[in-house]
Amino acid sequence: MLQINNLHANVGDKPILKGLTLSLNAGEIHAIMGPNGAGKSTLGYVLSGRPGYEVTEGSVTFNGQDLLALEPHERAAAGLFLGFQYPVEIPGVSNVQFLREALNAQRKYRGEAPLTGGEFLKVAREQAGALGMDMDMLKRPVNVGFSGGEKKRNEMVQMGIIDPALAILDETDSGLDIDALRTVGDGINRIMRKPDKAVLLITHYQRLLDYVKPDFVHVLDGGRITRTGGAELALELERDGYKELAA
């Protein structure tokens, strides 16, 4: 589904990714772990096309398409979803309006008919309900006044409504209490653990992986993947730390 080959990327003039190679197949969940400053968030931003994140070398193919040639909104329509580490507040724009426009823009891009207001609300109600978010929150402006946990939960509701093929989740577990962590973990499994979908979980900690069991764990350090293993690698990292591993 996703092939990243020898990816180099700069933020400003600073090289952050330095030859990252990674491949995800449909049906797989991959976790990327690594110390602060390793380039984890940069990878998420580069894949989703954030301005200012410049690819200097390498290639990324997503379902046979050259991902890097697409604009951010085209990448979303092609099935890529980025769960933000810090979901953005957008005053004055309601969640419902935002998500309906987003979903219908994607459908239009793919040549599908738009959902009517009623059809959309049905989907939205379902997804919000499954993640324990009430509809009143969906009517409020996007993320404005939401707590850290609510913002992350809102990301998952968005993911449920948009129903992407590939989710890159950037520290979706940070700022969550134990109950919210379980809710979010259940959400990821329910929405994304399907034979035709894949997930790239970017995380610092092993604890989310208790709920969402990865098929592969990669260590990202100094802008490249330095080690790959199974779920047990996360436990090893938790026990020994990144320093020990690098040694």
Partner: protein, 240 residues
Amino acid sequence: MSAPTRHNEAWRYSDIAAVEAAWPLPAPESIIVPAGGTFARTIMQDSGTIHQLDIAIGKGATAAIHVLNIGGDYGRVELNVTLHEKADFKLGAVQIGGGTQTLEVITTVTHAEPGATSSQIVRSVLAGTATGTYLGKVAVARDAQQTDSVQSVKAMLLDRSATANAKPELEIYADDVKCAHGCAIGELDAMGLFYLQARGITPAEAKKLMLQAFVAGVFEGAADEDALTEAALAKLGDLV
């Protein structure tokens, strides 16, 4: 009387050539709201014209003006408002300009007597090399105690080549008054735009959505709120 020049403060940022072409202007429209009365007016400036209104609001009376200033090379809406005892004045103005447009809203709101309230909300969206100006003077007379006046002025620049001028101005001779004024000029939040695009919204629609939020609420209470909002959105759609 000859046409004003840039030395005249109220015309400092105007399109002087357009003003000269329109000179001499007809006398301002005079509106007198009698004591206890209510008055509401929508000014839709979509053809490059100069509107001048003198409004006297009588004791306990209210006046609400909504302005959408979007059309022509030069559009100007000038309001000269006098508030008598416990009168209320509300202004909600949006100006949206692109290309080489010059758009301005000029107000002088005089609290002549005690206990009157005024509120002015002005939002400008400017692209290309357009110029948008708000000059708003609030004058409070010596015995106009318990005046309560608010000015909220914001401008959004879509291009670095556009210009926004904002001058909220207070001249207060009474000592027991509340006069708040806020002014901000900025650009659309880049992270917000990226967030919307990352969910599949095109760059133009993302900008439109954020600008829609920026001008939202200004037309609240206008009789033709929906028509104003629709016209504003159509103009925003042309710019993004």
